[in-house]
Symmetry: C2
Subunit: 193 residues, 2 copies
Amino acid sequence: MARTRSFDPEQVLQQAMMLFWQQGFERLSMEQLVKHLGVNRYSLYETFGNKQALFELSLQRYIAVVFEFMQMPLKEHKGKAALTAFCQKFRDQLQRTNANNGCLMFNSLQAKTPMSDTARQNLHTAIEKQQTLLLQRIIEAQAANEFNRRFEPEAAAQFIAAQTRLLLNTRRDQGIEAMTTIADFIIADIEAW
Amino acid sequence: MARTRSFDPEQVLQQAMMLFWQQGFERLSMEQLVKHLGVNRYSLYETFGNKQALFELSLQRYIAVVFEFMQMPLKEHKGKAALTAFCQKFRDQLQRTNANNGCLMFNSLQAKTPMSDTARQNLHTAIEKQQTLLLQRIIEAQAANEFNRRFEPEAAAQFIAAQTRLLLNTRRDQGIEAMTTIADFIIADIEAW
DNA sequence: ACCTTATCAGAATGCTCATTCTGTATTACA
DNA sequence: TGTAATACAGAATGAGCATTCTGATAAGGT
């Protein structure tokens, strides 16, 4: 019947996500999106709605792909092994080239990016799910006497989550060595308990 | 000869700093500045240059007033006492009402706010000065056997500086209790050594 | 080959913003 | 008291942005 789309929406969304990750919602203009995605301006609006909708889809994809990937260790292991593997993964990711953008999720919260209520809800439930996972692993580790029992599990979970946020949000120009050192501190702390 | 200024540039600058601190460079418009400062638009340009110049002056004032104030403990004490007093001060500041804006300096770096080379230079020297102070106090504390000697002083200084940044940059809506708990973790860590 | 429908390129719209301009009001000093 | 210089209020300018429109182009299905 009609002309077929010359681009794959999934691929375009992936690239849009990377651009939003690198530049943030405000800094990234539709001009740049059109230019870098290689897709016609009007086609973008037809396919995704508008800039905010495209951002929210990117955020959703980030949560499903990047954020979930980062906490696989918490699902694959139990107790202290899960915690150290989790921190180790953050430490390793810092060495990668595209890891100097911080976290799209926390960056967007900090920048107060405009978001629909449902998008904001998804964001917070994802964060809470991570917190719950951490909590479970800490409780396991304490039960196995692999983790200092004097700390409240909730506080310790918040502490570790905050540390990972710190690692992600610290820019490379502040010294990548510093960041891996911090990761080592945390790992050493967990190991020491 | 001529009409006198009806406002005090110092007071206006102080208020501008607070506004930039609350909202950031991009979000804060000249419209808002004119409205909240109660000063004529053209008078602002006459007195301070333009928006970026006004921001840089605000940043300079922040460094001189707020940032310096926060590290007084590092200058007034020595060794471990300085470190715990420093962390304690951050912990106390978190309880205050206006402490939920993060740090103007690190927020601006993160948001990639446009800045002249000299402004950026001032920012970095201020940060380095803090780092140096921390380093000196850690070296003293290690010499007095008040601080775990197995840690490299530079790494430990970077660690503590990163923690304070984390405390300041974590928004109140993520739970103030969580943040004070984290501060307590750090203090307990230093105390334990 | 033809028609339907989608894509495309670029111009047009309307908004917000920083900055500048214009004319008026005000005040210190001679 | 008059005058020169400055503050002031509000309009005007021009750039950048998201979004929409227009007319042309392209490709499937019949």
